[in-house]
Point group: C2
Chain length 327, copies 2
């Protein structure tokens, strides 16, 4: 299996993608092809010892930064790392694409270059979020700001297939994100979606609310990409503020530092549970071949976990499963 990694994307590129990719090549039995400027990648690779037969480079002269207009950049920058990587995926020069770069550009490349599965109206970005009951999926986490009821139903179907095939959840529960649990609650979109969800081949548990995100009430939380993006960033933002506050609290005095020592293991366990890096990246569901968006701030460990997830994504065969269930 060959993993295509955009070596130029993300806050810590090229260091993190390359370190994480090299580790994956050594430990996960996968081949890696790094896409980006050859000289930069070669320089970075010199820092590592690795099995050279498992690692290769595909040259891309430029890159798409986070500040560029995604669809326009994908159309015009044919030699950017994301576009080159997406074309390689399309042409079978790799089995799955992982990028930590510009989210919009990766989505556009997925849509315009890799292409939609026939029957899928809108591919969606699916993020795994930590919760009190383990990793749960939020779909759509930002690919489609304006959705129709049929889109949301497909998000539920694709998300269920992923949670079953890749995350090994038997009969994943699906909840529709709303402003109240009762069937009558919601905005126009979710009110129209509710009856369709009930009829769809889903383990639908009805409306869920914001409080269910961290409680982990549903395995798959369905919403449009605007609401999903707001939820995702609210949770991330709250996580980083809480982390920071706890740190300040523990570093306050000699006594609190001593206290912190005693609770260190617990804190580590808690942080690990809430750490996005443990959960790999966000799969784009609905494209003909697997595409994964790694977190922009991914370090090498997060990249490594995203590669592990990419491998499971390919092995699971869920793309065929999605194609069968969205026709």
């Amino acid at each position: 299996m060959k993993i295509i990694i955009d070596a130029m994307g993300g806050d810590n590129a090229p260091q993190a993608p390359i370190e994480g990719g090299v580790k994956a090549a050594k430990e996960l039995g996968v081949d890696i092809v790094f896409v980006g400027k050859t000289d930069i990648i070669e320089n970075e690779l010199k820092k590592h010892v690795y099995p050279s037969e498992k690692i290769s480079i595909a040259h891309a002269a430029t890159l798409i930064s986070n500040h560029e207009e995604p669809a326009k950049a994908v159309r015009s920058k044919k030699d950017s790392s994301i576009v080159v990587a997406a074309n390689m995926l399309k042409n079978g020069e790799g089995d799955v694409l992982l990028s930590m770069g510009n989210t919009g550009a990766l989505l556009a490349a997925g849509l315009l270059i890799v292409g939609r599965i026939k029957g899928v109206l809108r591919p969606a970005l699916a993020t795994l979020l930590p919760s009190a009951r383990g990793a749960k999926m939020l779909i759509d986490a930002g690919a489609n700001t304006n959705c129709k009821p049929e889109n949301l139903v497909q998000f539920g179907i694709m998300g269920s297939i992923y949670m079953k095939g890749v995350m090994e959840v038997e009969k994943p529960t699906v909840g529709l994100m709303s402003n109240g649990e009762e069937e009558g609650k919601g905005d126009e979109l979710t009110k129209e979606t509710f009856p369709l969800m009930k009829q769809a081949p889903l383990n639908f548990i009805g409306n869920i609310e914001g409080r269910d995100v961290m409680e982990g009430t549903a395995d798959v939380m369905v919403c449009d990409g605007f609401v999903g993006n707001v939820i995702l960033k609210t949770v991330e933002g709250m996580g980083s503020v809480v982390s920071r506050e706890l740190k300040t609290m523990f570093m306050g005095s000699l006594l609190t530092k001593l206290g912190a020592l005693f609770v260190m293991n617990g804190i580590k366990g808690f942080r690990k549970k809430m750490d996005y890096r443990e959960y790999g990246g966000a799969p784009l569901l609905g494209t003909k071949k697997p595409v994964i968006k790694g977190h922009g701030s991914s370090d090498a460990k997060a990249v490594y976990n995203a590669v592990r997830q990419a491998k499971r994504f390919v092995e699971s065969g869920i793309i065929d499963e999605i194609a069968k269930n969205t026709n």
Copy 2:
């Protein structure tokens, strides 16, 4: 000043509303009228020592529970505590109404009985949320699930007036909740709202994202009530999960318990900063007289703080200010 308290609403009624109300009568120099079943209120009042001239009872034979359809219940249950209380407010038998009960019913009573300020298209529920930079306002937190751009602009105006008049923030900053900071980001609603916000008499700082909720980037965060409700409940849910996890962590062993002792003051400070009870209730903005929704799970302390806030709301004179600025 007379505060009308719905003694029957909330998870801890009648104990919490009455204990909190009595404390407020003693310490804040306000008169309190408790609305609900006379015998129940009298029984509860027996537990307290209080200045009897500052406390009175208005009888309401029934109540609206959390499971009733709000608008219908308000129309049909004329003798419910919320409806009796709203009529008292309308008729000048009190200066402000505070209820911890059914949110929808309170909103409906505010709209149907107390009435909109002329010029206000839609009253909105405004919640104060803790953040790294202190209390910030989320408006609309759930009154209006489907909004138009003009509604959001008015939410920004009303929220700014409240933050200035009641929370004493000079030139409150206003952010439009979206899925990205750039001007072009958003769904149909927020894209149409953005240019109107720019023209409005607001200290508008542009789009904000979910991560800005806890960072406290804007004093007033504007969104429709569907998105606002999802944000509010996501934050609340995350707060309670984090609290629970930390508790489990600290109570894990003798050693961690000892450690927890050393950091106890810090934890208390952190919890206080993140505690909704410190922030009072959620004002309904846009009605002719002040209405405040206290948190359903309010204890006596939260009720007391909500009364303190209700008093400031009345004294601030911001209802006239809103009327002047929404014509």
